[in-house]
Amino acid sequence: MFSKKTLDTVNEMMKGWENEIEEVYKKKLKFGCPQFSSESGIPLKYVYTPDDIEDAEPEMPGAFPYTRGNRALGYQYMPWMIQLLHGYGTGEETRERTKYLIREGMKGYGETPAVLFAVDTPTHCGFDPDSPKARGMVGLGGVNISTLDDIDTLLKDYDLPKTRVADNIRFTCLPFLAMYVVYAETRGHKPEELNGQSQNGLGNRCLTTNLPAPTPDAQYKLEIELIKYSCQNIKRWNHTNLCGYVFGEMNVTPTQELGIVMSKAVDLVEGGIKAGLKPDEFVPRFSSQVHLGMDFFEEIAKLRAWRRMWAKIMKERFGFKDPRSLQYRIHVHTAGSSLTSQQPLNNIARATLQVLACVLGGVQSMHTNSYDEAIGLPSEEAVRTAIRINQILLNETGIPHVTDPLGGSYYLESLTDKVEEEAGKVRAEIESRGGYFECIKNGWLRQLLEKQSIKWRQEVDSGERTVVGLNKFTIDEEEEVPAFTLYQPEIEAGIIEKLERWRANRDNGKVKDSLERVKDAMCGYDIIEKAGILMPALIEAARARCTLGEMMEAIVESSGGRIYST
C-alpha cells in the first residue's frame, strides 16, 4: 500500500521513537512501560505506522469485502434506524410506550415506524398466562402475547405494510409469525406485503438465558422452517437475527462473539440449502444484533471485521455471487452489561461512546440503552435521552457526513485484521467440535459462557478490571433513581381474564383438530429436507384461534419436550 521509500522513512522514524522510549521513559524516568491488550486479548502497541498495514489492499465502501460499508453511500443517503426494544405489562401500556418512542424519534428506514417489542418470559417459552408455569411472571420484562387480540392491541394503529414489526421472541417465533400472518389477513393484507424481523435464534437464547427450551434438534429444525417459510412467502421479512448480543452479555470477548455467530451462520446456511432454498433466496435476509461493549476501538474493528468475514465466508466457502448475499446488515444493542446501577447518570456517557463506536463502524440500526436500565425498566425520560444521544450524533456533530471515517487508520486497519484473524480461530475451533448446534448439545458453548461470566466478576472483584462507580470512583451516598415499577398481580389477573374470554369464544373442537395437525406436521418433519410442512399447520391453527402457548405445546410435545441447557 506504501512505496518502499515511505516504508524506509517510517523505519528510520521508528528507530528514533524507540530510542526515546528507551532513553527517556525507561532509563531516565524509570517508567515501567505497561503492556496493554484489547478486550479480546490482542496485544496492543503504543503506536501504529504504515508498516502495520503494509499488506492491506485498498478498498471502497460498497465493494467486496465490504469492510468499509455495504453501499457506496452510507449515512449521507440513509441514517441508521433508531429502534428501541420496549414492552411491559399490558398491551395497552406497551402500545402507549411505542407511540411515545415514535413521537420522540424511534424509526426504521425513511419515515417507517418501527415497532420492536419485548415479550415476557411466559410468551418467550410458550406458556399461556393461565399456565401454572407462568405464575408471577406475566407482563414482566415485556408484554404478554397469547392471542390474535393481543397482537391487535399492539398494532391496530399501524398500517402493517408500512410498519417494521420486530418481535423479540426467544422460542416461540414460529407460532408468533403464524399468528402475525393470520392477524394481517384479518386486516386484509397478504403475507408478501409484510415487513419486519423474526429473532429466530432459539439456539442462542437457550444457551444464554437457560430457560425451558425445545431440544437442540428441534431448535435447528424450527429455525430452518422459519427461514423457508418467510423466504417463500414474505420476501421482505428478515428471517433471522444471528444474535451476538446475548453472548456479549455473558462476557464473551468481541472476537469470541464474532466467531460464535459466524459458526452459527455456517450451520444455518448449510441447513437452508438442504431444505431446498437457493442461496440468493435466503442469505440476504440474515442480519445480526451485535453487542457493543466498552473497548471502543476493538468494537469498531469488530463491526468492520464482521462485514468482511461474512462476505468472505459467503463468497469463498459457499461460492455465492449475488452481492446481496455478501453484504451484511448490522443492528447494535449497546451493552446492558456495561451499565451500573451506581451513579446511573454515568451510563449516559457509556451509551454515547457506544453509539459513537457504532456510527464509526457503519451499522444499519441501533438500540441505545437508557441510563436507568440497571435499576429496572426504563422511564420515559431515560428512553428519550437514549434517543437524543442518536439525534445529537446525527444532527450536531457532522460525524455521519463521511463514510468509514477511520478507514486507513494504521491502528484500526491493523486491529480489524487481528479481530478477523482471532474470530476465525474461534469459528475454526467450534467447527472442529462439530459446529454450532453440536456445541450446544455437547455443552461446550455453555461452559465457555459460564467461564467468561465468572471470569469477568473475578476481575471486577480483584480490581484488575475497572468499572467506574462500581469498584473505583465510588461514592458513599448513592443517589436514588426512581425505579419504574408495575403492579404485576393486577396485570396478570387482567390478562388471564382476557384469555379466558378468548377461549370461551371459539370452536374448541376446531382448536383440538388443528393442534393435532401441528403435532402431525412436527412429527413428520424428521429431517431438514422436509422443512416447509410445519408453518402451514401453524397458520391453520392460528386461524382456528389457537393460542401461542397451545401451538408451542403441540410443537414441543412432538419433538422431545423442553430442556434446560445445564
Binding site: 418470559t121 408471577g136 411472571m137 425451558p212 451506581q342 425498566l377 466478576r457
Partner: protein
C-alpha cells in the same frame, strides 16, 4: 473462611425461578461459595413448593434465590409460605436486580438479607459464614 462455629460443611440451596433467565450473578456467587468451601445445591423451580421440598430433602443451611425481573415480592412471599407449610425455618437470602426501596419490605416479610446490583459475591460468603448453623 469463617467456619469455626460449624461442625460440618455449610450447605446452600441456590435457586432460580425457571422463567427468569438472568443467571450471571448467580453463577458468580455459586463459584465464590464453592471456593469458600460452601456446598452448593443448584435448582430451578417454577413452583416454590418444589423448592421447599428440595430444601427439606437436602437439609440446607441457607437458601439463596435470585430475581432480576421484578418478581421478588412474588417469589419471597410464596417461598416463605411454602417453607412455613413444611415447618422449615431456613434463612433466605436474595440477589439480582432488586430496587433499594423494596429491600426493607422484603426484610419485613422475613428475607434475611438482600444483595442488590453492585454487591460482590464475597459479601454473601461473609454473610453465610456468620450465620448460626441450623
Amino acid at each position: 473462611m469463617n467456619n469455626n462455629q460449624r461442625k460440618g460443611k455449610t450447605k446452600a440451596l441456590m435457586a432460580r425461578f425457571s422463567l427468569d433467565g438472568h443467571d450471571r450473578g448467580l453463577l458468580s456467587v455459586m463459584s465464590s461459595f464453592k471456593d469458600a468451601g460452601i456446598e452448593v445445591v443448584y435448582t430451578y423451580f417454577s413452583d416454590p413448593h418444589e423448592l421447599a421440598k428440595v430444601a427439606q430433602e437436602e437439609d440446607t443451611d441457607v437458601i439463596g434465590v435470585t430475581s432480576s425481573m421484578g418478581q421478588h415480592f412474588y417469589v419471597a412471599s410464596t417461598l416463605l409460605e411454602a417453607l412455613n407449610e413444611r415447618g422449615i425455618n431456613v434463612p433466605i437470602i436474595m440477589g439480582g436486580v432488586i430496587p433499594t426501596r423494596d429491600v426493607s419490605q422484603l426484610m419485613d416479610m422475613g428475607i434475611k438479607k438482600v444483595f442488590g446490583p453492585g454487591s460482590a459475591p464475597g459479601d454473601a460468603v461473609d454473610f453465610i459464614s456468620e450465620l448460626p448453623k441450623a
